[in-house]
Amino acid sequence: MNKEVVILVAEDDEGHAGLIRKNLVRGGIVNELLRFKDGQEILDFLFQKGDGPKRRPGASYVLLLDIRMPKIDGIEVLVQVKTDPELRKIPVIMITTTDDPREVERCHALGCNNYITKPVDYDKFVNSIRQLGLFLSIVEVPRIDGEGVG
């Protein structure tokens, strides 16, 4: 994967975020990684609002999105990203503890590019992240232009 691509992790659980990072690194993905604690933070970043860090125009991003988060949940974030004409180009991978088929289907319908369940079984989790690394290494990540929308 292009080294310039920034990996955005929206995950309220710090531990999960740490595990994701560690395993991506083990999988050879060493791109820049930004972590957001809830849906509000990631939306502020993407839509360039609020006081926190903001998206750089012209950069390429991949979004790893947890579903269950305080304030604004992952589904809502997915909806907002996928309804924005520019942001919708960002690949979105759902990473969640829920393996409810209805939830999976709903996310796919809303336009997520991949869906990964966080298994309690760590080996499976590692495997999933590895697969994600594989996915990230082959996916074509477009640049996101403009000053952001809205």
């Binding site: 309220d12 659980d13 710090e14 531990g15 999960h16 740490g18 595990l19 560690k22 604690k37 269950r68 305080p70 304030k71 604004i72 949940d73 809502e76 969640t96 503890t97 829920t98 409810d100 966080k118 298994p119 309690v120 079984d121 760590y122 080996d123 989790f125 590692v126």
Partner: protein, 775 residues
């Protein structure tokens, strides 16, 4: 009633039974006659009478004239014949004389004779108006007249052939015939002639007179007589009329009167006959009694009922028939009233010889004579036993029906088309808290003004379709409150099948209804509970899995760290490098992993404790009763007084209506809500919390209003979710407050919802069952 009339009716008893009614209708023969020949009017009568008299006169005159005429003709005939014969003899004498003495005369003796005759004739032309002599001789076959004639233009008539005219008198004379004849003379006139041959001179002599001359006096006299007769007739007729008309008029008037009288008589007779038929054929028993209770007259029905003949009854008293006791007990009291002048009616059982007792309807009518004194009374007795028995049967059946109606547990009622109770049974009356008498005949619009319209609608449907309507669930107002009944309504028909109302059967289903409602509520509650549980399971599985992922993940990281340590220490690296690597692991990775593991376990513990708490809250025993919310709210505020003060907030509580619920649980609800309000106050402004309440229909609605940070629309649906926290970083608590509130309200038949504006504040509404009369 006049005594004589009544007597007349009653006396004409049995013998006339069977007189046909058709015979009784009077038909006046006179009227028929008058229709057939109307009398002539005066003018016609006058002409008719005149003609008759003229005819009579004419006939008499004709007969008389004919006799006179015939006699006159005969006299003429005889005179003519005598004269002509004497003439002929005279001429013959002259001829014989001349034949002797006038032989020297020129022309001979014949001529001398003729000359003398002619000469004589010249001096005697004839007799009367038309009478004349003619004298002729025969020359060959022709008649040659010798004398000049009186008549006309011809001095001497032309010769006429003898043979040709035997009808003429001269012809007959010249042929030697002597006699008289009515025939035609030389002029063609009809004449009466006598003809005689003159033997010596071979002459014929005729003496004739015109018949017209003979007739003339008759015609004259006849005409005069006719004229006189006509005048006399006309005068006579007029006179006759003058005298006759008044007589005729009087006669006609008399005739009319007579006719009318006859008709009236017939009508009266007919009417009487009809009355007689009615009385004789009446099945009612009729009798006329004197003041002293003696039978004066009865009709056949009366006689038959008591098995008496006319003679056995008339002249006897009622005591003979009914006996002393019955007379005194029943007849006398009523009869005395009647003899006082009023009509009396009563019913009584009467014993008859052949039948059992009959129930009689008896009427006494006073009877007056010509002087208007009460002479007695008319008895009319009618057998109404069957009616009486039918009434008795009906009454008994109704009583039996009422017993049945009253002993069945269902509420039964009959209603008419005007929404009125015709009948109700005891069960309904008891339920309605009224007596049967108070309800029957009463309109439901009066009894149940609020519900009557609904009842009425079902009635109308049943009556218009003619089909029963079943299982109508409807309320009934009772003194104890609203009763729910299940009613079947069927059409109520009369004997002809016409629908005249409805019959209803109602069963008290209040208990069933209450159970049903409770069951429905329970079902709803269960459903909500199920949903809630489902959500709890869903959320919990996720939230419990999260720390598990960490525990497992960092456990594995610890293994990696141990591997790394082992390899670092056991490697051929330099000890410093190995120590550095180990120090790195010990300083960062291992404590991090341990920290995540510990955090996760305590998080799991918190979650499990929360679940336990929720479960405990859901299982707490409930004591539902009316709650004085003002008192309850005061207790809530007392308990969290300190927190309110700490938050620097102002709490304002309005007057709150009571509700039904469990005191402990409702306390919990408001404690949580006020606690939340305090927790999410806006630090920018002083907190103000207001609690108010009102009754909305069947529920009491309370509102906890704050001026805090408010809730964004996107979050509003999540706030009741278990373990959901708006901002975990800022707020304490496990995210169970509203979940518990919702659960509690679900168990108390209540409800919670929220209205909020971000940055302005929130209003949490709590609805609980209101305290009301009927439950």
């Amino acid at each position: 009633m006049a005594l004589s009339t009544v007597l007349a009716f009653l006396m004409m008893g049995a013998p006339t039974v069977g007189v046909s009614v058709v015979d009784a209708i009077p038909v006046s023969p006179l009227a028929a006659a008058r229709r057939a020949g109307q009398p002539m009017n005066a003018r016609k009568r006058f002409i008719f009478l005149t003609l008759i008299m003229v005819g009579a006169c004419a006939m008499v005159m004709a007969v008389m004239t004919a006799m006179l005429y015939r006699h006159d003709i005969k006299a003429h005939r005889e005179r003519l014949q005598a004269t002509v014969q004497s003439q002929a003899r005279l001429i013959e004498a002259m001829a014989r004389h001349d034949a002797v003495y006038e032989k020297n005369t020129p022309g001979g003796p014949t001529a001398a004779t003729l000359n003398q005759i002619i000469d004589a004739h010249e001096h005697y032309e004839g007799f009367g108006e038309t009478g004349e002599f003619t004298l002729a001789r025969r020359e060959g076959d022709f008649i040659v007249f010798i004398l000049r004639h009186r008549h006309g233009a011809v001095e001497y008539p032309a010769s006429v052939a003898v043979n040709l005219d035997l009808s003429g008198p001269m012809g007959r004379a010249l042929n030697g015939l002597s006699g008289t004849v009515i025939g035609r003379d030389y002029r063609g006139e009809t004449v009466l002639a006598a003809h005689e041959p003159v033997a010596v001179l071979n002459l014929g002599i005729v003496m004739k007179i015109d018949l017209a001359e003979i007739r003339a006096p008759f015609i004259r006299t006849g005409l005069s007589a006719a004229a006189v007769a006509l005048l006399v007739i006309l005068a006579g007729t007029a006179l006759f009329f003058r005298i006759g008309n008044p007589i005729i008029a009087r006669l006609e008037a008399y005739s009319r009167d007579l006719e009318k009288e006859i008709e009236e008589h017939k009508r009266a007779e007919g009417a009487l006959r009809e009355y007689q038929i009615i009385v004789s054929n009446s099945t009612d028993m009729l009798a006329l009694l004197s003041r002293h209770f003696v039978y004066l007259a009865t009709n056949p029905a009366y006689l038959k009922a008591f098995k008496k003949t006319h003679d056995e009854l008339i002249g006897h008293t009622v005591i003979d028939v009914f006996g002393e006791d019955f007379f005194k007990a029943v007849i006398k009291p009523h009869a005395e009233l009647c003899l006082g002048g009023e009509e009396v009616n009563y019913q009584a059982w009467v014993d008859f010889p052949d039948y059992k007792s009959r129930y009689m309807d008896v009427t006494y009518t006073p009877c007056t004579n010509a002087d208007d004194e009460i002479m007695g009374f008319v008895v009319i007795g009618r057998d109404i036993t069957e009616r009486k028995e039918a009434e008795e049967t009906l009454r008994r059946q109704q009583a039996e029906q009422q017993i049945i109606l009253n002993s069945v547990p269902a509420m039964i009622f009959y209603k008419d088309k005007e929404n009125r109770f015709i009948r109700v049974n005891q069960a309904l009356a008891e339920a309605a808290g009224m007596t049967i008498e108070e309800m029957e005949g009463e309109s439901l619009f009066q009894l149940y003004p609020d519900l009557a319209e609904d009842y009425w609608r079902d009635d109308m449907e049943v009556m218009s379709t003619g089909k029963p309507k079943r299982h109508i669930i409807e309320p009934l107002e009772t003194p104890e409150g609203k009763m729910w009944v299940e009613t079947d309504k069927i059409p109520y028909r009369d004997e002809d099948g016409k629908i005249i109302g409805i019959i209803g059967f109602s069963l008290d289903i209040t208990e069933r209804k209450r159970t049903e409602r409770a069951r429905a509520r329970l079902n709803a509650q269960l459903e909500a509970k199920n949903k809630e549980l489902e959500q709890i399971v869903y959320v919990t599985s996720h939230d419990l899995r999260s720390p598990l992922v960490n525990i497992d993940g960092y456990g594995k990281e610890l293994e990696y760290a141990i591997d790394d340590l082992r390899s670092a220490l056991g490697s051929d690296k330099k000890p410093t490098e190995a120590l550095e690597a180990a120090a790195q692991l010990l300083a960062q990775d291992i404590p991090d992993a341990l920290r995540f593991i510990r955090t996760s376990t305590s998080k799991m513990d918190a979650l499990l404790k929360g679940l336990l708490k929720l479960s405990q809250a859901g299982r707490a025993a409930l004591t539902i009763k009316s709650l004085n919310m003002n008192e309850l709210m005061a207790k809530v505020v007392e308990a969290i007084k300190f927190q309110i003060k700490e938050a620097g907030a102002v709490l304002d509580i309005g007057d709150l209506p009571p509700c039904k619920g469990d005191a402990v649980q409702v306390n919990q609800v408001f404690s949580n809500l006020i606690g939340n309000a305090l927790q999410y106050l806006d630090p920018e402004r002083p907190g103000a919390i207001r609690i108010s309440g009102r009754v909305e229909g069947e529920r009491s609605v309370y509102c906890v209003k704050d001026n805090g940070i408010g809730i964004a629309p996107a979050h509003r649906q999540n706030i009741f979710e278990i373990f959901h926290r708006l901002d975990p970083a800022k707020s304490k608590g496990e995210g169970l407050g509203l979940t518990i509130v919702q659960q509690v309200l679900g168990r108390l038949w209540g409800k919670i919802w929220v209205e909020s504006k971000l940055g302005e504040g929130s209003r949490f509404y709590v609805a609980l069952p209101a305290v009301q009369k009927y439950q």
